[in-house]
């Protein structure tokens, strides 16, 4: 409380000083119109986003935060204040935001939350709606520059809860040389992907068809959600209208599961243990002809001192079932304010968020190791495209509106769903169940879980 008052006082003092300065300059300036000088002063005040204040943020230890830590001195200077960043791992971020953000006096001013947590966050009353700020500063935000899918994904029941700071997406990657040698075109749908994986799977030569991330729980669970989406099966088709009945054992779902089961035949024998980002590293070592991985991992592939496949790869969206339009999921981080933040701190926090997610700052982060697509202008930028060719692919997907938020619907059940899918599908993959049985089981378990929390009766 004391701290808040102090920094609020500091803020007001600064503003007063600047106002006096503006007036003084106006007095001294010979023929300069007062208005112009005031405008300069205003811009000067604007350029200093924090105006000497301190902002406390709790961020996940993802590339944006870590790039920020590298250039924290520059950031502080640019923001004209002090950014106090606290960086934690994924699980801790999730726990802390639930435990701390809803409280009456939150410990932080800004929190980073993952797109798929939105429903959970709103349900826990953890986030402050930002519509008032967004409307007021719409021009400064340059909303047109934010990819539509990302922007829409910060809405819940008509209210906006954050500004995207690090959206990222998984793409399909393939080896152009191997495909060309086999006379194949880049796969455009799930059938072609499966066929290509089969042809290119040469374990004796040390090259597998597809590097699959099958780690228990989240990695496999998320992969399954993507696979369902590829076959046009959202997990909760009607949640928007309040009907929580899951659709996890429809024909589409079973077909998706069968497809996954066939695909893993062409994966390395230990695919069930591939987690984190091993698939990207191993792809860089030439272990497989294709893989799914985060587009930021391109730097693994492009560094000649580290990668064995420089110049021999290309990327594209996740495949869909034949006949379906392109759809790519995306994930990543959004900056939000805690629900009960005081009005003075809210202003500081908002100015920080608005500034931090703007193109110039995001550009600085991209130059220091973060690879994502928060602003269209950045992925359009020729210099950045030259440094990161994958931006061209991402730009195409943005222009085609291929990124779909419904794939990873931000419902509170999402974590439970991925956990359930990850566990049951692993069982299926090691031979314990058929795809149909696995789908039926997941459906039944999900219904039990929903009944327990009262979403289904």
């Amino acid at each position: 409380m004391n701290e808040n008052r102090q920094s609020a006082m500091r803020l007001r003092r600064r503003q007063l000083l600047e106002a006096i300065l503006a007036l003084g300059v106006a007095r001294l300036a010979p023929a300069a119109p007062v208005a112009a000088v005031a405008a300069t002063a205003a811009r000067a005040a604007e350029a200093s986003a924090l105006n000497g204040a301190e902002v406390k943020g709790l961020f996940v230890g993802d590339p944006f935060a870590q790039a920020s830590q590298r250039v924290i001195a520059d950031l502080n200077r640019m923001a004209g204040g002090t950014i106090s960043m606290q960086v934690v791992d994924f699980d801790s971020m999730h726990q802390k935001i639930l435990l701390d953000a809803p409280s009456a006096s939150p410990a932080f001013d800004v929190y980073s939350w993952e797109f798929s947590w939105l429903g959970e966050m709103v349900g826990a009353n953890a986030l402050r709606p930002l519509d008032d700020f967004v409307t007021r500063d719409a021009e400064l935000l340059k909303i047109d520059d934010i990819p539509k899918a990302n922007w829409d994904a910060t809405l819940w029941k008509g209210k906006r809860y954050g500004i995207p700071v690090q959206p990222h997406a998984e793409l399909t990657w393939w080896r152009t040389d191997l495909l060309a040698a086999a006379g194949l075109q880049p796969p455009k749908n799930t059938d072609e992907l499966l066929a290509a994986a089969k042809v290119l799977n040469k374990p004796d030569d040390g090259v597998y068809g597809f590097l699959w991330k099958g780690g228990r729980g989240a990695p496999l669970g998320q992969t399954m959600v993507h696979a369902f989406a590829a076959f046009d099966q959202p997990a909760f088709p009607n949640w928007q209208s309040g009907n929580w009945m899951p659709a996890l054992n429809t024909d589409n779902a079973v077909r998706a599961t069968e497809w996954v089961k066939e695909m893993v035949q062409y994966a390395p024998p230990d695919y069930l243990n591939i987690a984190w980002d091993d698939e990207a590293r191993r792809f860089a070592q030439g272990e497989a002809a294709m893989t799914f991985t985060w587009f930021g991992r391109e730097s693994f592939f492009s560094d000649p001192t580290k990668s064995k496949i420089v110049g021999k790869y290309a990327a594209g969206p996740w495949p869909s079932a034949p006949g379906l339009s392109a759809r790519n999921s995306f994930g990543g981080w959004v900056l939000g304010l805690p629900a009960h933040i005081s009005p003075e701190r809210a202003e500081i926090a908002w100015r920080f968020v608005r500034w931090y997610t703007s193109a110039p700052v995001e550009r600085l982060l991209i130059e220091n190791g973060n690879i994502d697509f928060p602003r269209i202008s950045l992925i359009r930028d020729p210099a950045l495209q030259k440094a990161h060719p994958v931006f061209k692919t991402v730009l195409e997907l943005v222009d085609q509106d291929a990124f779909k938020a419904w794939i990873r619907a931000p419902v509170p059940e999402f974590v439970a769903l991925t956990d359930l899918l990850g566990t049951t599908m692993q069982e299926m993959l090691i031979g314990g169940m058929t795809p149909k049985q696995a789908c039926d089981k997941v459906q039944a378990d999900m219904i039990v879980s929903l009944k327990r929390t009262g979403k289904l009766t």
Partner: protein
């Protein structure tokens, strides 16, 4: 017949008596060699994983995953540089995504919390152990069991209630909270270990001191404690190891102001990948202080556990 057998037997026995020492000497030599061999095999098993940890810490992230670069690679100190100084240099920045580290701060935080909580656990724990050993009363066995039971609790069971309590007391993310919790968690081990030690000390020593007019506290400080020193050192070492390596409570009860080494190390695990090199370097660096401590005290360690355990 019998006579000849006896003579034969006696001859064999005489021969055996003469040859035996040489045979035994050879057997002993071979036996010794076998012992050293066994020790060597076990030490290889013990140290090999640590060797790989250090090797990995000297490689760049991508090299770690090249099966051919297991032993043949160019070592780099970049990971240690990052962990210890917080900077990575431009070259690393291009290939990795990670930023400043908290290595030095984490070492300091860990050291502070470990040293203070261990000292407190020893002070309170030795007193309690002495009390339980020398002044038993009707409920003391149950009290001793209660103290033991605090070690049974799986940390995850209590982490949420503790979070809520300390949040209400506004003590989260302070040195105080970790010190208190670690002191409590180490207390049980200290008490149970030292109780046996104190029981080993001949009672007569203390009784004569009491008769000579020494106060009870003096008897404790001047007689019992010094005689139990080996046990105290043993308890201190294992308490320090526990506090130094503890992860769950540190992760939940603190954020960034107080950030111990095990929490800092998991900061290298992002939602998209894990920074193996930095992770291994931090782990390697983390062992060093404890190892130094153990080397300095290892003689006392062995003697210490002696007294406490047997009873």
């Amino acid at each position: 017949m019998t006579t000849r057998n006896l003579t034969l037997g006696a001859n064999v026995r005489n021969l055996a008596v003469e040859v035996a020492p040489a045979v035994i000497a050879v057997a002993r030599r071979l036996g010794t060699v076998a012992l050293y061999l066994a020790v060597l095999i076990y030490l290889i098993f013990c140290l090999a994983p640590l060797l790989f940890m250090v090797l990995a810490s000297l490689k760049s992230d991508v090299e770690i995953f090249d099966p051919k670069a297991l032993f043949s690679f160019t070592p780099t100190l970049v990971n240690y540089q990052e962990v210890l100084t917080g900077s990575t240099g431009a070259a690393q920045a291009a290939a990795s995504y990670m930023g400043a580290s908290t290595g030095p701060r984490a070492l300091l935080a860990s050291a502070v919390v470990t040293i203070i909580s261990t000292a407190l656990a020893i002070i309170f724990g030795s007193a309690a152990a002495y009390g339980l050993a020398r002044y038993p009363f009707r409920g003391s066995r149950d009290l001793a069991f209660f103290i033991l039971s605090t070690r049974m609790a799986p940390p995850i069971a209590f982490v949420l209630p503790m979070f809520l309590v300390f949040k209400a007391l506004n003590l989260l993310d302070t040195y105080f909270v970790l010190i208190i919790v670690y002191t409590g968690m180490n207390m049980s081990f200290v008490v149970w270990l030292l109780r046996g030690f104190f029981q080993e000390i001949p009672i007569e020593l203390e009784q004569s001191a009491l008769l000579d007019g020494y106060g009870r506290l003096d008897v404790f400080r001047k007689i019992a404690l010094p005689l139990a020193k080996p046990g105290i050192i043993a308890a201190a070492i294992f308490s320090a190891i526990f506090a130094w390596n503890e992860f769950l409570f540190a992760a939940i009860l603190t954020a960034d102001h107080v950030r111990t080494l095990p929490v800092a190390i998991t900061g290298f695990s992002t939602s998209m990948g894990i920074r193996w090199g930095a992770f291994m370097a931090t782990a390697a660096v983390g062992i060093i202080p404890i190892f130094i401590l153990t080397v300095l005290l290892q003689r006392h360690l062995v003697r210490g556990l002696t007294f406490g355990a047997v009873k």
